[in-house]
């Protein structure tokens, strides 16, 4: 490795440095505020260093990693999201008894894992990134260890994630066995001549899909989602829903486009079934939920299904649509869980529907933000979610995936029902008893509210004037070659 390689890995190095700093500082002096500042600074610095990369074409660090426009965009997305989540975490953990400092350490580490995922071009780096991400997540989910649900969620995630990692490893081994290489590009060359996948390779890909599908929480690998979402502390839930899934989506796109998996009808069929099943299962199961965190968990299953529609479109437009949708979805999800985190008290998270009763009259501004987030999830105009959904639908119609497009439309309507349900609860008359008093210093709330307000403005910004973001995505992804599909 030469100096240039290190320069290109600067974001990762900064994150690693931040993690070590945190560890050292914790061992010397436990102070929530200092750790928080170090964390925020390292995310910011890592994000800033992305601008120094000056990517002209792809810079590959053979054989493990590649830094190209796609990588920069996804890293930037992951880092910014992590920063926002850490900003929302401060108020949440400040009012809790547990030792709060290690949380930030784990947060940095799992972000690092997600960043490695999106730049990897080799099975080894893929697995490395995935495990850094997952291992840190086990601890994050069970972080509030005095809560039964939190422990349950952590252990559930641990067992299932380990299991799915085993599948992924086995799948990689099979691919290696039949192609003799672990590099994405070399795998692509090895199978380039094949018009149909041999059984061994198909099994290999199939098992990898299991591993990937688990991380994304798509049907039929979705069982962990509601329990983990419910058990994990609200900011961690936001993290799982965004950074962890976003990293995996980035990897999936890179790998699939590289090996041109869309050539094989059987793989397309598998993903089509997964997408449709995810949309319907997620939305139908969300209908009867009384717990907002579980509801959002099911809704996230459906949203991953929507994303797969654009992914299946496979062309340049599809990749751009996925990227755009991810941005809107990240903003929305962080915002929604941020609201839950802010309304939570010492004992439990504000996750029951009844906790939101009359919110519009008790705290108009908080409720307005939450309504904006929910409407964006439902895909209503003026929000980024609408443009994202429109883009996905356009990508689907363009490649004439009518079945997927129509499923998406039907599911949007089903989804609307439960988002509206939450909104309806918010404008019911408030009961006096449910009013939660402010406990912390007002300045902490100002920080959280500021972050949430910023998110709302961003959301409406990309909803009303998406041109700038589209421009950014298309220039950044220019270096990322999409193989013509069909």
């Amino acid at each position: 490795m030469n100096a240039n390689d290190f320069l290109h890995l600067m974001p990762l190095l900064i994150l690693t440095f931040g993690a070590i700093m945190n560890m050292l500082v914790i061992s010397v002096w436990r102070n929530h505020k200092i750790i928080y500042v170090i964390t925020a600074m390292s995310f910011l610095a890592a994000f800033g260093s992305l601008f120094e990369l000056q990517v002209q074409g792809a810079y590959s660090i053979d054989p493990l990693l590649v830094i190209d426009g796609f990588a920069v965009f996804y890293m930037g997305l992951v880092l910014l999201t992590a920063l926002l989540i850490s900003m929302l975490s401060y108020a949440y953990f400040e009012q809790r008894e547990e030792r709060k400092e290690e949380y930030y350490l784990l947060l940095i580490l799992s972000t690092l894992g997600a960043c490695v995922l999106v730049i990897s071009t080799h099975f080894a780096s893929l697995f490395l990134g995935l495990e850094i991400l997952s291992v840190a997540l086990y601890a994050l989910i069970a972080y509030l260890r005095k809560r039964e649900r939190s422990d349950e969620g952590g252990i559930k995630y641990l067992i299932l994630a380990a299991f799915s990692s085993a599948f992924l490893l086995f799948g990689m081994a099979l691919v290696y066995a039949s192609t003799g290489t672990m590099e994405f590009a070399a795998v692509a060359i090895a199978i380039a001549g094949l018009t149909e996948l041999p059984l061994l390779l198909l099994t290999g890909f199939g098992m990898m899909i299991v591993g990937v599908g688990f991380k994304l929480g798509v049907v039929p690998f979705h069982m962990w989602t509601p329990d983990v979402y419910e058990g994990a502390p609200a900011p961690v839930t936001a993290f799982i829903a965004t950074v962890s899934k976003g990293g995996m989506i980035g990897l999936l796109i890179r790998f699939f486009i590289e090996v041109d998996g869309f050539r094989y009808p059987v793989l397309v069929l598998i993903f089509t079934i997964i997408a449709i099943a995810s949309m319907f299962t997620g939305n139908l199961l969300a209908l009867q939920q009384q717990n907002v965190k579980r509801l959002l968990a099911y809704s996230s299953i459906a949203h991953m299904g929507y994303l797969l529609v654009a992914f299946l479109a496979g062309n340049e437009m599809g990749v751009q649509a996925v990227s755009f949708y991810l941005v809107a979805y990240f903003i929305t999800t962080v915002g929604a869980f941020g609201i839950i985190a802010m309304l939570s008290d010492k004992v439990r998270d504000a996750e029951q529907l009844s906790d939101f009763k009359g919110l519009l009259w008790r705290r108009p501004w908080t409720a307005t933000i939450f309504i904006a987030m929910l409407l964006s999830l439902a895909g209503i105009p003026l929000t980024g979610g609408f443009v994202g959904k429109f883009y996905i639908l356009a990508a689907g119609v363009r490649t004439e995936l009518w079945l997927l497009a129509v499923s998406l439309v039907i599911n949007s309507v089903i989804g609307l029902y439960y988002y509206i349900k939450i909104i309806a609860v918010m404008f019911q008359p408030a009961e006096e008893a449910t009013i939660i008093p402010y406990k912390l210093q007002p300045s902490i709330y100002v920080a959280s509210m500021g972050t949430l307000t910023l998110l709302t403005l961003l959301l409406i910004g990309i909803g009303v004037y998406p041109t700038a973001l589209l421009q950014l995505i298309s220039t950044v992804l220019e270096t990322f070659q999409v193989v013509a599909y069909r």
Partner: protein
Amino acid sequence: MILLWLIVLLLAGGVLAWVAQRFHPASPRWISLFTLLAALLLTLMLWSNTGASLTDSAWLLRLEQPWVPQWGVGFSLALDGLSLLMLVLTFFLGLLAVLISWREIQHKVGFFHFNLLWVLAGITGVFLAMDLFLFYFFWEVMLIPMYFLIGIWGHENRRYAAYKFFLFTQASGLLMLLAILGLYFMHGNQTGTFTFNYFELLNTALTPQAARWLMFGFLAAFLVKLPVVPFHSWLPDAHSQAPTAGSVILAGLLLKTGAYGLLRFVLPLFPTATVEFAPYAMLLGVIGIIYGAILAFSQTDLKRLVAYTSVSHMGFVILGVFAFNEWALQGVVMQMITHGLSTGALFILAGFLYERLHTRDIRQMGGFWATAPKMAVVALVFVMASLGLPGLGNFIAEFLTLVGAWQANNWLTVFATIGLVLATAYSLRIMQKIFLEKNLEQTVLPDMNAREMLIAAPMLVLILWLGLYPQPVLDLAKPAIEAQLQAYNTPLVPEPEEPSIQTAFYLPATDSVYFQNLNEAFYERK
């Protein structure tokens, strides 16, 4: 630019009204009153200024701004006679909606007026958008505030009604979005330019199969909104549960966006497919007319009754739209306006009665003529308008529609005419149950006060004016209607045996070639 300012004015007024509540509880009312007054004056000014240029081209004003150039989405607004009429109606009814809410809404006044103005902004956008993406955008924008209006300030069963309204319209809207995207890509693949611009998409050549599917996508949205009978079930709930202002806007304006969509998009975009579908559409219209009338007759809830009369009246709209001739379309435009006024007025009266009696059940009313003669007279006028009495606006509308429809389909028109008889039955029942008969409970009904008279008077004047001298409206709508019918290339020569009608309403035999040339010239210039 003035078109954009109209929308911005409403949006800004809404935000201001919400914020202003903190400083003074009554200020939102004044703010939205002045906002709407300004918007109304602006549009009336447009009308008076551009009267001369009407003969030039169908379009009075246009605005083109790039919005999302990557997708070929433009912020494209345009105004023709049809949109202008709809805008005047929008702001007029909006103004009345503010006035009737003056006493009725005492709770969260700021948020109420925010929603009111934003619905109106969405409706304004729908009437002006000439870019399909923008059109869909506004189409959706008007839903959320309406949902809040029904869901927060409605009557006892408001949440259910709001849900139903929202899901029906949203689901059908999404089907339209699919069709818009299909059209977009078909046009793009043909010509190489991907655009949502209405004027460009007009020239898309479609295979019959494709045209049929795309048309059904658009129809889904418009027929649900209108509503046409199998898709109408959201309407009685939404109308009867909404607060008075909400009902007025729903009946007066939201239904009209469906009719407007049919005229503006379905007819010119899919000329062949609509001709195929026309007999079925007209049949649905006739079913709607009769079914709505029968159900209206059997209601006991006054607002529900009026809601079903809307179903019946909207049957005439679809009957006229799918007759594809100028007579019928003039009738449709008149019907959109006069129905907005007459049904709006009936909902307002229902609101007055509810404020006094706290019931909408007409079995508990009766004999109010003695105590409230002014209200009774106002009610009488609008009930007569609703049944289509000559001299009032609705008569012109229904007459023109039926004359046009007769040329397209004789038998269906005969059945539609039966609807007029049924209209007489349900309309007179309203009058009889509420204002005549015996006052069983000996209720003393206070008569209308000055504010209420202020609301009723302009509506009375307008409905009379439209009935006695509809010519300005017909003139204004004429070029727009011809533009919509251009694709059908049916030179409109009125039947020679009906010269009297021709002179009476001054609908000259159009030299459609002349207008066609003008329109073509217009497109080329663009």
